[in-house]
Symmetry: C2
Subunit: 344 residues, 2 copies
């Protein structure tokens, strides 16, 4: 990405092993994230550009001398953050705070993004999750669902876990993007009895109903708040915020029940927000969430994906070739597509 709205497909040198803990992965499928739209709207123009993409699945091509759990030919899921797997935070399941890792675009990580033919993966043992038996599968539905484990499904799951969703919970999900829809699925899997989905794109909210939403609220602002408060008899005990813009935060504050939880996984596009007596403090609201340590959840979520019990890959509604990546961004930006897969 060379600036707001300026995505180009360029030739780059083939990635190679640079550290003994690296792997090189040939990308089978990648995709565009809702959070990629934030720089797509606001990135200052740059001459060098920034490699994009933090969600991919693929096949290991080479491994460095210290990589012990992976071999060439292994099918792997790459979580959206690089993590060592051994530090205090990784052991606690908070891989996004890994002391050695970081996000794909971090200079510290020094690697390129996943919207590419191949990627150098640092800290490969800690980062990549091998999925035996997939090999060179051409089951498109399975590949799509496996790809969601690199970010959006794990992120929706994180929202629900941090929100404390349990058997019988009443949950409202703010946002009908891929993460919002998979937060609906996650809340349902965790036993929520009532799942209200706030979104105004009917194709998406229809899918949300299939994934478990019991109610849909298309209104926004004060009307949306009134509708949810009415449906939930005074407010939702758990709100999962899957957008990241200030109106979504305000929506969450408006619909949460006293003593309730707002769990955010939409990357905040603001620094400050209301947290005072009239918003969070007075009614004892808990604000939680953050970038999902999806690496912590993959093993737990994988079996139901592999056996077809769940089908999170349904959030993909368009697939393009790598050379059409700019079209993928435009389609998501215009809401013409919910989530776009990229096939190198």
């Amino acid at each position: 990405m060379y600036g707001a709205g300026d995505v180009r497909v360029t030739d780059a040198p083939d990635p190679t092993i640079q550290l003994a803990t690296d792997a090189v992965v040939r990308v089978t499928r990648a995709c565009v994230c809702g959070s990629d739209l934030h720089p797509y709207h606001s990135m200052p123009a740059s001459v060098d550009g920034t490699p994009m993409g933090h969600e991919f699945i693929g096949v290991v091509e080479q491994v460095g001398g210290e990589v012990t759990t992976l071999s060439p030919g292994d099918f792997v899921i790459a979580p959206f953050a690089v993590s060592c797997g051994t530090c205090e935070f990784c052991r606690a399941g908070l891989h996004t705070s890994c002391v050695r890792g970081g996000f794909w675009s971090d200079a510290r990580i020094g690697t390129a993004g996943g919207q590419a033919e191949a990627v150098r993966v640092p800290l490969a043992d800690g980062t990549l999750v091998k999925v035996p038996g997939v090999g060179d599968s051409t089951d498109e539905a399975l590949l799509a669902s496996l790809l969601t484990l690199s970010d959006v499904y794990g992120t929706g799951w994180h929202a629900a876990v941090k929100g404390g969703v349990r058997e019988g919970s009443t949950v409202t999900v703010v946002g009908d993007g891929a993460v919002g829809l998979l937060a609906v699925l996650s809340a349902t899997q965790l036993g929520a009895e009532r799942v209200v989905l706030m979104g105004r794109h009917q194709e998406r909210t229809d899918l949300g109903r299939e994934l478990g939403a019991t109610d849909v609220v298309a209104e926004r602002g004060d009307e949306g708040i009134a509708a949810v408060r009415d449906l939930t008899d005074g407010g939702s005990e758990i709100v999962l915020e899957a957008v990241g813009h200030m109106p979504a935060y305000e929506q969450a504050v408006g619909i949460v029940r006293p003593g309730g939880v707002i769990s955010r996984v939409g990357v905040p596009q603001y620094d400050d927000a209301p947290v005072g007596f009239g918003s969070l403090f007075g009614p004892n609201i808990t604000l939680t969430g953050g970038p999902a340590p999806v690496r912590a959840y993959i093993e737990e979520l994988l079996p139901a994906v592999l056996d077809g019990t769940v089908d999170p890959g349904r959030v993909f509604d368009l697939t393009v070739g790598l050379e059409e990546a700019p079209k993928a961004y435009a389609a998501m930006d215009e809401r013409a597509a919910l989530k776009v897969m990229i096939r190198p």
Copy 2:
């Protein structure tokens, strides 16, 4: 209080039963709260004034016809909020969100404050906690400790409970006022292994050490942050914020460990605060807390107070008569006193 810095002792009509759910309580001891200092600094001048005080213990004088659990002569603790005891929120232990109750100063509650000779207590069955066997005790230490159950001890306890303090926790308490010191006591009671107290008044932090603080950090700002991060090897997993001013919030954000919890019980003197990627979101920090439902905690905390295992009343370091109430505010405001008891 008639405005910032303007506290007067005035004659008022004797309180009477107005609703069948009321009680009239003769006040044995009341006190000034750290949160009373906020209006003491900022209240606009008014002709009518506002009755003050939300912490008191006393003896029931009269009860309305529907009061079933109290009789004249009962010794009671009055929590800092009025609550019905039967609504959804009271049953969930969130009495500060009671649908029928409110704070003593709320117009809806329609009663006067506790810095008085006697008080009409609405919703008496739900609000007051009877303590058998105290009667007309003159055990000053016991009375002081019982008085802390009306606010500061329950508030410190709420901070620790909402912060998730458990056996082995590392906890940092921001603020060496009465609530901060009793948050230290509470964290210790809940099994914290390490309790760092941030405060710069040595008499207070000395008492904090006696109540369980293992370390004291007197520095503030960046120096204070660096000192706590150093002591806790990179940040405190739980931070209890017992002040309410923005610098305390910033301090909390600066010292909390990735994945950790900031539990606020200091009444926020700000509306907006940093919650974005660089503060709470990126490191998956949870922000929780609010006005303590102290009513929910009194029965749990009472036995150790009655048998002398704990002595939270030590936070009182000055006692004045009711006619000297203005002096009580001034002493706390000037930090000449930690917490001032008022004896009507």
